[in-house]
């Protein structure tokens, strides 16, 4: 067989060999959803593309363990050295679009003295919340009294939006999250 024949054959054979069995991407940034930040800014879930991100879901009016989520995120950040911390971002997505207006989120940010240059509190419509929760694997349920019950799971996303670590630990700083933020 001539080299030319072989080359032609390869051109035809290649697409067959490369036929994808679906797109292997698990990046959360494939979710084309619109969120609104505490300052009213419209953004996508990929607002922190290019950074390692701590992502979790919460709601402001929650009196029980939700305040602990912010403490937990801080405990994780506290374990990072200053250089690493500069590159880490935090995204809190509210599951309660009815009460967590951008104004309510801004008030929470002020009360909890959140550094909004690296942290974002965001809200989105009900359908978007459901998609984001499904992608993060966060289980939640609206209760008849308007409160929510939800898993307090924290995820680390890599620069492209893939989940590289998850933790249910509240209060302390889970080593899994620290490692995922510190690794390259």
């Amino acid at each position: 067989m001539s080299a030319r024949m072989l080359a032609i054959l390869m051109v035809f054979a290649l697409p067959v060999l490369a036929a994808p069995a679906g797109d292997p991407s698990t990046s959360l940034y494939q979710l084309k959803v619109g969120l609104t930040a505490q300052d009213g800014r419209a953004m996508g879930l990929d607002v922190y593309r290019g950074n390692r991100v701590l992502v979790t879901m919460f709601y402001s009016s929650c009196q029980a363990t939700c305040p602990l989520i912010i403490d937990t995120l801080r405990a994780v950040e506290h374990k990072l050295d200053a250089a690493r911390l500069r590159d880490v971002r935090v995204l809190l997505v509210s599951i309660d679009p009815e009460h967590d207006t951008p104004e309510a989120l801004a008030a929470t940010a002020r009360e909890r003295r959140i550094d909004t240059s690296r942290w974002t509190l965001a809200q989105a419509d009900e359908g978007t919340v459901r998609l984001v929760a499904a992608a993060l694997g966060v289980q939640y349920r609206r209760l008849p009294d308007g409160q929510y019950s939800h898993a307090t799971q924290i995820s680390v996303l890599d620069e492209k939006g893939n989940i590289i670590a998850q933790s249910d630990e509240l209060g302390g700083a889970d080593e899994k999250l620290i490692e995922a933020l510190a690794s390259r």
Partner: protein
Amino acid sequence: MRKLFVAALLAGLVFPPTPVLAAEPRDVKLPGGVFTTVLPPAARTKTAGVRPFRMDRALVSNADYARFARSHSEWQRDHVARLFADESYLSHWRGSAVPGEDVARQPVTQVSWFAASAYCEARGARLPRWYEWEFAAAASETSPDARADAAWRQKILDWYAKSASGSLPDAGASPANYYGIRDLHGVAWEWVEDAGGMLVSEDSREQGDGGNRFCGAGATSFEEKENYAMLMRIAMLSSMKASYTSGSMSFRCVTDVEPRK
């Protein structure tokens, strides 16, 4: 008169009557209301309220889903992102957007929650919420709520005992229930919109070791334990992540009757 009759007869020959199923409207309105649920929404609350809604009479078929996949290439088997569907997505189809002839009329299976949600959304609809599904599925062929009927319950349980083998019946081929809805029992499991939160927490403030921690005042415990078939369904749904697919998991869509406030 006779002329008219002949004309009608001829018309019948030219346009043969469509099967009964095809002549039925796609969906039907359900009145909603307050009913006793197997999944108490909160501690000491055994009832759930459902607003009026419209529900598909039949499960979505492979042919229906193929039309959607052809116009939404990101949901074709060879293009779908792993984030949205696992490796078994539409694995029973002949091609990326082509089901086999043999399964075209059967309920579509091997679809993830993400995929089912996207299908309904493209139709301007959504997946039913659990309480909507449970409300519709409480009806037998003759009663809007047959759950106290032991014979009816046994019939449903018998299906769970013998399913899992053999091919699925065609979508819409099972008898219509009181509301005119088919396929709710004895055909396949069905995705619901809130599948990801059905078993959230016994008591959120309880901080167990190792397991998920929950925030908020929640309470999930089963009621109506005699409705074993319903509990199996909830357990099945709760074991599925949103990207999972299964050969026995299908779906249907619903729409709101009144716009939400």
